[in-house]
Symmetry: C2
Subunit: 256 residues, 2 copies
DNA sequence: CGCCGATTTGACGCCCCTCAACGGTCGTGG
DNA sequence: CCACGACCGTTGAGGGGCGTCAAATCGGCG
């Protein structure tokens, strides 16, 4: 009765990569919190440096090659994760193939804020990733032992809620160009927090990922890119590497 | 450059109600947790019944008449709330008047999951409301004293995150009829948890509120209602009181 | 009864989705 | 080395759905 989907939707069916067939997750031993680049960004920082052994004792390391899936929609939730390297996407699929990318997850982000016993999203690696894995049960006991950890998680969950509510406005009331502007600004800020250059955004994800994140089609995303470029707000030669020329204009377009 | 808004947007400019000019919030003394209808639904339940005096000691009661605003976008956040009676809407306004209703808040819901120091939304009473107010600072100390309270809040924040992510899919990829179907089902379930009749939904909010919640216009919402009615999925005479005739159809339309 | 707001319905137009084609890059294999 | 295919991104043409504008109906309240 309503919006019709496109036949088989867009991106790959989880396991049909280029040639080597998108490897699967591999387990490894935890490398230690000391030199961890993600630690200052992650909830792990809620535990004092002197006590990281408690984390290391229960943590495992997961290596996730590009295109691999960490967990699938419907799987039981047994672990939570902190991202140490790389980028993931959080994908939800409708039975008819319509696809939503509910978010992109970057270094320091926490995976596991959910009350559901099963995953409501599939988690796929946009780039090669490394994650710290914690059994759900261990995380619960750690929270009891270190109340600051639980406060930290609550705070983090609240900011994620803030961010998600921001996306609501974007999807409900902004036009394509405005959505894209907001997306670029936000991604740029997150990359800057992680040591990226200001006024520069790297886009490891495809246009299809962006489209499914913004509730648009690939074509409309592409057209919006060229319009933003023509307007002088952004510049790029490599479509995966964007210059934010006029951040103020981008921000105001996105209602920020 | 993009979607153009309608001149002055839809609903009232916060204070121009029917005739009596939408009263303002009134303070009262807290009535006690014992007979509180919201308690079993709210995070307050994380504190044992024998200890409710700790809550009562710091709580205040707020009476909010229809149309009144509890807090405005940009105000500093000083308190958090639990809803005891009535319904509120969480509204965000863009400078040009575009409006989003980020959610409807009902009895037992908690207001205050945010990391921001200022409100990012305006909170307006859809019906007459009663709320329990807790100073932010008191809530923090309560969390230290009662770790279960903090766990409860984390759990609640996680379910809200789940719900908000569900809205993302709705806004990004569902058509008008599907969005409305999902909205009705979800609201029906929440009302049922609160003692409402199954297969019946009360809509205290206007079509404009629904439209701004679903990212549509009033007219499209209205047309979607009549289409759902013609399809036999719902029935109604009073537009504010909807019969859910075929819940299965509604659920599957919404991708649930 | 008259006014006002809420809801519904109709006519029309624009924006975005759909369908299609093209160019560029990369990796493979002849 | 170059031909080839796969994937990605871009651009153009066309159609449909939802927003826009307009008007009618209904109910509540003064």
């Amino acid at each position: 009765m309503d919006t019709r989907p496109r036949p088989p939707s867009s991106a790959e069916p989880t396991g049909s990569a280029r040639h080597a067939a998108a490897g699967s997750p591999k387990r490894a031993q935890h490398g230690g919190c000391e030199g961890c680049l993600a630690r200052p960004l992650a909830i792990c920082a809620s535990i004092p440096a002197a006590e990281t052994h408690a984390l290391e004792a229960v943590a495992g390391e997961v290596l996730l090659p590009v295109g691999a899936t960490l967990a699938s929609q419907g799987d039981p939730r047994r672990e939570v994760y902190t991202i140490t390297r790389g980028m993931l996407r959080r994908v939800r699929l409708l039975p008819d193939g319509r696809r939503l990318v509910a978010g992109f997850l970057m270094v320091g982000d926490f995976i596991g804020f959910s009350g559901a016993p099963h995953y409501r999203h599939t988690l796929e690696a946009v780039t090669d990733c490394v994650l710290c894995a914690f059994p759900l049960q261990s995380m619960r006991s750690l929270c009891q032992r270190y109340p600051d950890l639980e406060s930290g998680m609550l705070a983090q969950a609240c900011s994620e809620l803030d961010a998600t509510r921001g996306s609501l406005m974007m999807l409900a009331r902004l036009g394509p160009g405005e959505r894209l502007a907001g997306f670029l600004v936000e991604l740029g800020e997150r990359q800057q927090q992680r040591g990226g250059a200001a006024h520069h955004v790297d886009l490891p994800m495809t246009r299809a990922d962006i489209a499914d994140h913004l509730g648009l089609t690939i074509e409309t995303v592409s057209r919006s890119f060229t319009k933003l470029r023509q307007s002088g707000a952004i510049a790029f030669e490599d479509p995966r590497r964007i210059d934010l020329v006029d951040v103020a204009a981008l921000r105001s377009a996105a209602g920020l």
